[in-house]
Amino acid sequence: MKKIKNLKEFSTSADRFEGANLLCPGCAHSIIVREVLNATNDDLILAASTGCLEVCTAVYPYTSWDASWIHIGFENGSTAVAGAEAMYKALKTKGRLKQPDRVPKFVAFGGDGATYDIGFQWISGCFERGHNMMYVCLDNEVYANTGGQRSSSTPIGSSATTSPAGRTSYGEKMNKKDMVAIMAAHGAPYVAQVAPNKWKDMVAKIQKGFAAEGPVYINAMSACTTEWKFSPEDTIAVSDLATDSLVFPLYEIVNGTELNITYRPKNIIPVRDYLGAQGRFKHLFTKQYEYLIDEWQTRVDAKWVQLQRREEARV
């Protein structure tokens, strides 16, 4: 397993995802992808679903990928990689691999729309069939590539273009779908939620994921400067607010049951601070909708209690 000493070395240790791409300045997608790829020295076979990452990194005649990469459609990055993994197995059985002593890792990336919504069936199928692959969701809680429509990951009270806040609406009405729990329920050997600001935690989880046999799901919080509406230089600061307010708790679930919380903030900050840092929640700070901020806090507290109980009870 690749040893990583410090952030400086980590950030320059491999260049299989080039800095040259069309993602917005400050986009967390690029930070996460780099962290995932830099966590390993293994050969990689990658796929991406349609979304910001895909449209910004493989614009002919250029590519930002120095590892084999494929994109088919919005929903099927998971199955593209599963097909490649099946071919790897077949050629291994038949003795036709070009580099038989090298064992590549298979990774698919998708946005939350590609993952929580349209691609859900494909991912579920891949996990049920037990392909040896990692699926990384770049969870920016919105369809960013098409201009900010709601997804089933968009949190309640967020203003998205298809669930806009207005005089008679506070924006998104539904709670964010718990994709991590759903993927763990597939009995996957390893499922984790990560955030790019906690890079050591992230590397440890990615390495654990690569070491696991079978399908691995990583839900990566991906702060989106454009749709969350914060300054590009604040990506990591906003990410810190997310993990320290426990809006995005960091934990892992091993074999579908064993839950471990991997980050406990020394000072838990109020959810209000996280919401207040982003334009998408601006309307919540008006008299009409302010009650939602308290509801938010109650929900985040309850989830934290639940996670701790599950950790303790080992269920």
Partner: protein, 406 residues
């Protein structure tokens, strides 16, 4: 190593099993599949071969047809021989990915057992599914019976995987009429069949770890046009000669002759029908009977649907005075696809003739010899009058009041 299977020279197989045997003998590396009537037995057959050690590729039973083709695309991009099968609604669910496979120039063989599209739901044969994907950039071959379904799979692999071509290929056969009808099928031995198809030669394969490749890029207005034009160019200029080569090589191997356009009694035909699938052989029988009464009738069977063999079709029909194009798909607001394509082909070749469109056999309705006799009678009346005397478009074998249009 997969075990070899001893076959008799002639086996009694239906079209589905014949196709499954061809996938086994081609020793496909990955089959990703989802069942749908009437093509299910192809992948069941393959799964059985795998369960009994006759194939050592991977069989991935995915959760939908869209995933089946997605998996096939990933597998083909990884670098190996790939195949699957589908019909109807499953084909419709695949359509998005069919364009991806051809756009990425990936060799994949898809057996399409033709079936109607709902609603109303119907499991029987017509060519609605085939028509739905006709612009998807795949090579499309048409089998009229189980023997063809077997043989054309080998041709499909050979042409599709050719490095000058690199385009996916479909083998169509008629649901139930071919897929579930057992006939004597002349076989090839495992060794002869595999050698004909040849060992898979990877190209731009993702599993060549020293040479990473990017598949499925974005192009927009600055390159998309060029890519699509080149794809079309490959289809139009490279595929037919390769198919011809493969047909010739296959004849040397097996003694069985296939042609890009199949003709029956066309040398001196005055009237003719153009059709696909099982109706070609029915039409041939009717033509033989008409010939005995002195009527100079003929049949043109489309063997290669895509790329459309313009020249060969024009050549076969150039002296015919009245033609019926037989469309086995609801035209839904237009003339049938076969009518339109034949009309365009003849117009372009400067052939002045009388062309009518016969819609038939939707949802499994039989096309009987009596129907064909009626069609030829129409054509003869048109020829004798030297002008159309019958409606431009008719529905054949329809209950209730006669429907005709235009």
């Amino acid at each position: 190593m997969a075990e070899s299977m001893e076959l008799r020279d002639i086996e009694v197989w239906d079209g589905n099993f014949a196709a499954a045997q061809a996938l086994r003998q081609a020793q496909v590396d990955v089959v990703a599949a989802y069942p749908i009537t009437p093509s299910t037995a192809i992948v069941e057959g393959y799964a059985n071969f795998k369960a009994n050690g006759y194939v050592d590729g991977e069989f991935v039973m995915v959760e939908s047809e869209h995933a089946a083709m997605s998996g096939c695309i990933g597998a083909a991009a990884a670098g190996g021989r790939v195949a699957t099968a589908t019909s109807s609604q499953g084909y419709a669910l695949m359509v998005e990915t069919l364009y991806s496979a051809s756009g990425m120039r990936l060799p994949i063989v898809l057996n399409v057992v033709n079936r109607a599209l709902g609603a109303p739901l119907n499991v029987n044969c017509d060519h609605s599914d085939m028509y739905l994907g006709r612009d998807s950039g795949w090579i499309q071959l048409n089998a009229y019976n189980p023997q063809h379904a077997y043989d054309l799979n080998f041709i499909a692999f050979k042409v599709s995987e050719d490095h000058d071509v690199r385009l996916p290929a479909m083998v169509h056969q008629d649901g139930f009429l071919s897929s579930h009808t057992a006939q004597g099928v002349h076989t090839l031995s495992d060794e002869v069949a595999y050698n004909f198809v040849g060992e898979y030669q990877p190209m731009n394969d993702m599993l060549d770890l020293d040479h990473p490749v990017t598949h499925g890029v974005q192009t927009e207005e600055d390159w998309h046009y060029e890519h699509k034009a080149r794809q079309h160019h490959a289809l139009m200029s490279k595929v037919l000669p390769k198919i011809q080569e493969a047909f010739d090589a296959f004849e040397t191997l097996s003694g069985r002759r296939y042609n890009i356009v199949e003709t029956h009694q066309m040398d001196d035909a005055d009237i003719a029908v153009v059709c696909m699938g099982t109706s070609v052989e029915t039409a041939m029988e009717v033509v033989n009977e008409l010939r005995a009464t002195g009527i100079k009738a003929g049949v043109v069977g489309i063997r290669v649907i895509r790329p459309w063999p313009l020249e060969q079709i024009a050549d076969a029909l150039k002296n015919v005075k009245a033609i019926g194009a037989l469309d086995r798909s609801s035209p839904n607001g237009a003339m049938g696809m076969l009518y339109n394509e034949v009309a365009g082909t003849l117009f372009n070749a400067g052939v002045q003739t009388i062309l009518t469109d016969y819609v038939y056999g939707l949802g499994g309705r039989d096309l009987t010899k009596a129907h064909l006799v009626q069609i030829f009678n129409d054509l003869k009346a048109n020829m004798d009058a030297g002008k159309p005397t019958t409606p431009l478009q008719q529905f054949i074998g329809l209950r209730g009041p006669k429907l005709s249009f235009f």
